[in-house]
């Protein structure tokens, strides 16, 4: 019954979104107030209906209703509660339902909080938002219905992939989707602006908070996924240039560019057409990312052949959304004229440089990700495009950008001079050079890139701090006055400083973990000792125990440094009862200098010996700290009053009525 209710709600949501995507659009064109006004209730109703459908799916998972196929293939009665819930989106159908839920949630948020938007713009934004939703509802109802029944129902389910039974991965997809789908707001605003034929500072100001929020979620989502890979895959890797990772990284690159170009569009009335185009590109990459991962096409083009309905549907949807919006852009884009002029060396110039590099990088990653598929589809044979290719292409692009990132914030709008900026950065430059040299000397056998990356991280970090110091005129005016200026800085500028600083900290982490990881793989008997980077690991033997739905072998280590006890590590190997799949839970002791990381492998002989893998991953925690700083910066910037100008606390509805 619940499943049917959910299915029915989903169908109703489809009709609601069809209504929402047509009537307000026509109304906005013909200035029919009542037609325009329909956008708001339909958006809210659509959201409530999907929420009901989603709630129904969660419910059938919670009660383990094994007459629903989706529950059978992804759940089991023994699973802990949290993974019963996360199992809802741990599969194709459920994740699509989560996707539309978030999409309609953003739509409803505009409907409720967008009272200060001009009514026609609001109607068009909601209509575009609903058009995307229509595509997803049709896709779900015709090819991927999460409420499908099975008869006769089996006694129990097949369980969730043990790798997904992890807190990090439980919240990874919702975060990522909040990011992907958040960019749909920028997209809808862009399409609405193209229909209206105007983009002004107010438009950019409406778009920025949505983009920023989406960017924060996406950053957090990517970091969560990377962190999970780090502790779960069992050898300390954190980024693999895997197509699935690239799928989320491309929208991030384009979204970061969008964030910066929207600033220019808002403040300087230029790059408007480009900002609109970037909004379209970013969301297109989000859609592509969703489907690349969900369609199975990444494994092989033949996944298309085995399930042509889904594949063809996806292809047609992508062509309509991406092709349609680009065609609209080609038609209406030239009307978006800009008035602000600027020189190449200026704040706008630096932001444009950022945009060009970020989009180039996104294009290169896209090419590398899709190339094996395209070549295979065109009959050109099989080719692998792996991490070495991406590193070779991506890193050279990023180096000049990070160099420029420290300088950009010092430049003035319109026209500037680079010399004073460089003079201010001489301290940062000296420190970066020194760090790089020291790192190079200390790790002569390691890759040079590590030293370069470390130097770049220091350069950018000190650059961000220097910029903050010169903004508050530290050491130029009395200290008290300077500190008072700190409290009066606009939050958006804190966002920039923290965003750049966070990236710098992350780069330092990547440099350390990427270049100077120390690894030791061996067979250890209880009592054996291994020295790594000054830490002495003693293997204390392994013990068996059981968890809620798995059995565990836990290898215990005692770690000492110069004879002093540092920590005890218990590296687990779990075997899940249902699937018989093993997973590893690395034991990690985190310090700012680096992580001690221990993994236990297979038993070796009968004397209690095990294969053990021990690592020292230098600075790796800086990577996650850096992303936290970035996300925090974004959140601070979101609270900036300027984003809410025109969103008076009093009587939003009032404003909407007056506007209409």
């Amino acid at each position: 019954m619940t499943a049917e209710l959910g299915h029915f709600a989903l169908i109703l949501a489809l009709f609601m979104s069809i209504l929402q995507s047509t009537v307000p659009l026509v109304g906005a064109q013909r200035r029919h107030c009542s037609w325009i006004a329909l956008a708001q209730p339909t958006a809210i109703l659509q959201f409530l209906l999907v929420a009901l459908a989603f709630g129904c799916l969660v419910h059938v998972y919670l009660i383990s209703d094994f007459s629903v196929v989706n529950v059978v293939s992804n759940s089991h009665t023994d699973k802990p509660l949290i993974y019963k819930i996360s199992g809802v989106w741990g599969n194709h159908e459920g994740s699509l339902l989560l996707w539309v839920l978030i999409l309609s949630m953003f739509g409803a948020a505009v409907a409720v909080f967008g009272g200060n938007l001009p009514p026609t713009l609001k109607a068009r934004v909601l209509a575009v938002q609903a058009m995307v939703a229509v595509g997803f509802y049709l896709f779900m109802l015709f090819t991927s219905n999460p409420f499908e029944r099975i008869f006769p129902p089996p006694l129990n389910g097949q369980g969730l992939n043990p790798l997904l039974q992890d807190p990090g991965l439980a919240f990874h997809p919702p975060m990522l989707y909040l990011g992907y789908v958040g960019f749909s707001m920028a997209f809808s605003f862009a399409i609405a602006a193209l229909i209206e034929g105007r983009v002004d500072a107010a438009w950019a100001r409406w778009v920025r908070p949505w983009t920023l929020a989406a960017w924060c979620f996406l950053t957090a989502g990517i970091a969560l996924g990377s962190w999970w890979a780090y502790y779960e895959l069992g050898w300390g890797g954190w980024w693999f240039w895997d197509p699935v990772e690239n799928a989320s990284f491309m929208p991030w690159l384009a979204g970061t560019a969008l964030l910066h170009s929207a600033t220019v569009a808002e403040k300087r009335d230029t790059l408007k057409g480009w900002t609109v185009l970037l909004a379209i590109i970013t969301f297109s990459l989000s859609l592509l990312g969703t489907f690349l991962v969900r369609s199975g096409v990444l494994t092989s083009v033949h996944a298309f052949a085995t399930d042509p309905t889904r594949g063809v549907f996806i292809l047609v949807l992508l062509i309509i959304v991406i092709g349609g919006s680009l065609a609209l852009y080609a038609w209406r884009g030239p009307q978006l004229t800009s008035t602000g002029l600027f020189q190449p060396v200026s704040r706008e110039g630096a932001l444009l440089f950022n945009n060009l590099v970020m989009t180039t990088a996104a294009a290169a990653v896209l090419l590398g990700t899709l190339y094996p598929l395209l070549l295979d589809a065109l009959g050109g044979g099989k080719v692998s495009v792996g991490a070495p290719f991406f590193n070779a292409v991506f890193i050279p692009l990023m180096i000049p950008m990070i160099v420029a990132m420290a300088i950009g914030p010092f430049l003035h709008w319109k026209r500037s001079d680079v010399t004073p900026a460089l003079l201010r950065l001489r301290l940062a430059f000296g420190a970066a050079l020194l760090t790089g040299l020291l790192a190079f000397i200390a790790h002569q056998d390691g890759p040079v890139l590590g030293a370069i990356a470390l130097a770049l991280g220091v350069w950018l970090a000190l650059g961000a701090v220097t910029e903050l110091a010169s903004r508050i005129r530290l050491f130029q005016i009395p200290l008290g006055d300077a500190l008072r200026r700190v409290t009066r800085l606009p939050r958006a500028s804190w966002g920039m400083t923290l965003g750049h600083l966070g990236l710098a900290v992350s780069i330092i982490g990547m440099a350390g973990a990427g270049a100077w990881t120390v690894e030791s793989i061996q067979v250890m008997k209880p009592g054996d000792r291994v020295m790594i980077s000054g830490y002495e690991f003693t293997f204390d033997g392994a013990k068996d125990s059981t968890g809620p739905n798995y059995s565990v072998v836990a290898g215990n280590f005692t770690v000492r440094r110069n004879g002093e006890h540092v920590t005890n590590l218990a590296a687990e190997k779990r075997i899940y009862a249902v699937s018989k799949q093993p997973t590893t839970e690395a034991a990690i002791h985190t310090t700012l200098a680096g992580d001690l990381y221990a993994v236990i492998g297979d038993p070796e002989g009968a004397n209690g010996a095990y294969v053990t893998r021990l690592y020292f991953n230098p600075l790796v925690v800086w990577m996650w700290i850096g992303t936290l700083i970035m996300v925090f910066g974004g959140a601070i910037s979101l609270t900036d009053r300027r984003h809410r100008v025109g969103a008076p606390k009093r009587s939003r509805a009032d404003a909407a009525v007056q506007g209409a």
């Binding site: 990312g289 199975g296 792996g386 492998g601 007056q658």
Partner: protein
Amino acid sequence: MRYLILFLGLLVFASPVSAVDPSEMLSNSLMETRAREISKGLRCVVCQNQSIDDSDAALARDLRVLVRERLVAGDSDNEVVEYVVSRYGDFVLLKPPFKGATLVLWGGPVLFVLIAFFAGLGFYRRQRRGAPSKPAAVALSNTERARLNDLLDKDGS
């Protein structure tokens, strides 16, 4: 999002842990380091985008052992890679070689950089030519002006 791959990957390899095994490793640590470096660039052909160094598949293990055998036999790093390629084809290389089929792949990023450069250049050129037909800011209509005043009042600043 990584996990779909793991779903599929798990069909192929049993466990994500325990790639390189101590029993495979060479006693000569210099040679072992070379073997590790070579392994990182070779794809486990039955896996999803994993190098043989990371993979636990039986085939990856065979390849790791093969790489070490060739090294012990006195091959140079390049000779080892060539030997593996001669048996498994270019597909085994994670960094695809530069040749006809990968011309677009390697040329693409260079082309993108050039496009970006000329797009930027073109933008500044057009701007310097005096930004043709830029109308002065369109004046606000009366209703818009009223709304603006209204909003500014409400903002209280």
